[in-house]
Point group: C2
């Protein structure tokens, strides 16, 4: 079979849901991967208007030939109750970025953003274990990244997030899951850190500045920014100026493609999670 | 642009809804046509379980990047109330096999099965005007075909259909729309006809026989069968034995591809129809 894509009546569907949707790259990436694997499946963009999310998602999941969903902004937390069961990352942070239909028709959800972020950093040859992290943002992506960083053995995470309820919930979850990792809320002012992560929306709009006041950086500081943008964000430009190793939103997404292909391929394989309802 | 298909975040979606869905050929046909026209769009199969139809359809239509729907068995009549307005064929026969989203977000529905059937016959060089038709079945496809045949100037249509309410409704609609065409219910016994159409489900299952008792055929009798099947139905075999010109379900579908491409391409162009609600 060549990479030339044919869609037939028997083609299995995967969709990425988001609002907006035109910016996503998963349809291209996964449709090519399915074709390369000889699987008759495509991944299509599905623009779900946020105000109709709760009505549209169960209907999409009712399609008999839909086998999986990817979830992007702003739906990763809202998707949680639609999973029949959760993998450990999703259960800890309360957000889902991928669901697969099992052979019995139930849906397993898990969160791969954090693993993708860690994978992206490791792909650049940097070490994560023992780092002291300053992170901006404790939303869906931020929670996933903090979970994966704690799982990868960072020493501490300081989280800057205007929503105090959100940051408290995350710090409590992380302390329970990773008692050896020192997690706490922080102010925007930089403390003594050797890794800076932006998981806030700052940088998504042209003209956005830095997510916070971090000052000059030593060259051994790791910098990550979840924002996917055409030109480098202010934070990534800052990292480049100081000679730091950095990853951006695109690296985070590429970093999870293998994991997601495995997740979609293995139906009802144990994910070590718990039932969400 | 080559015919190599890429799906991106900006790809516009079309879907064909049916239950079952694996047998449909539209995804292949239309996805190739879109690519050949340089349009970033795909048509995907959507298997909508019949019991969840009323919930799934509005959700699909809520997707911001879904521009059109094709409708197959068993949903052509059930789809009618989901159109904001109807073309003339759909309004007359009460069934829809295609919908497009207009620029204002409303949905126009129309029925192309009948035009496809007539186009398939004309593609084989046969004349339709003046024919006396015996037709089996007055469901969605049967109604569409009878409407198109009357519009193409047949002299009479005799309709064999076990559901008497259904056949009465169709004959009344057709008499109103085409006062010059002599339309009536009939028994299975062949009357004096020079065109035989099967629009009933007979022939869909392997081992099915003829849709009715039509006896031997003169070679100038036209034969049509809406059934899409791997091997010729008993009726088409009968037509072949008697040297008749015939069309099958596949011809009917190919016969409407051009019309459907035009329908999808022209947003808010006048379709001469009426509001359905």
């Amino acid at each position: 079979m060549t990479n030339t894509l044919r869609i037939t009546g028997a083609t299995r569907l995967y969709a990425i849901v988001g609002d907006p949707i035109v910016q996503v790259r998963s349809p291209e990436v996964f449709t090519e991967r399915f074709a390369a694997a000889g699987v008759n499946a495509v991944l299509v963009p599905a623009h779900v208007p946020a105000e109709r999310f709760d009505e549209v998602i169960p209907a999409l999941m009712a399609l008999g030939n839909l086998d999986g969903l990817l979830v992007t902004v702003p739906f990763k937390a809202r998707m949680l109750p639609f999973a029949s069961r959760l993998g450990p990352a999703a259960a800890c942070i309360g957000a889902v970025n991928a669901l697969r239909r099992e052979a019995d028709g139930s849906w397993t959800g898990d969160m791969f953003d954090g693993a993708g972020f860690v994978g992206g950093i490791e792909g650049k040859g940097a070490r994560i274990r023992g780092r002291r992290v300053l992170q901006f943002g404790a939303g869906g992506a931020g929670s996933a990244i903090a979970y994966a960083l704690a799982g990868a053995g960072v020493e501490s995470i300081r989280i800057v997030e205007p929503d105090s309820g959100r940051v408290e919930a995350l710090t409590e979850s992380l302390r329970n899951a990773f008692p050896d990792c020192d997690v706490a809320a922080a102010t925007s002012k930089r403390t003594d850190v050797d890794m800076v992560v932006n998981a806030s929306p700052v940088g998504m709009r042209p003209g956005d500045g830095m997510p916070g006041d971090i000052g000059a950086l030593a060259a051994d500081v790791l910098v990550g920014d979840v924002v996917v943008s055409e030109s480098p964000t202010a934070l990534i430009q800052h990292a480049i100026r100081h000679g730091c190793v950095w990853v951006n939103g695109r690296d985070m997404h590429s970093g999870q493609v293998e994991a997601l292909m495995g997740f979609f391929a293995s139906r009802l394989s144990p994910v070590g999670g718990m039932d969400s309802r």
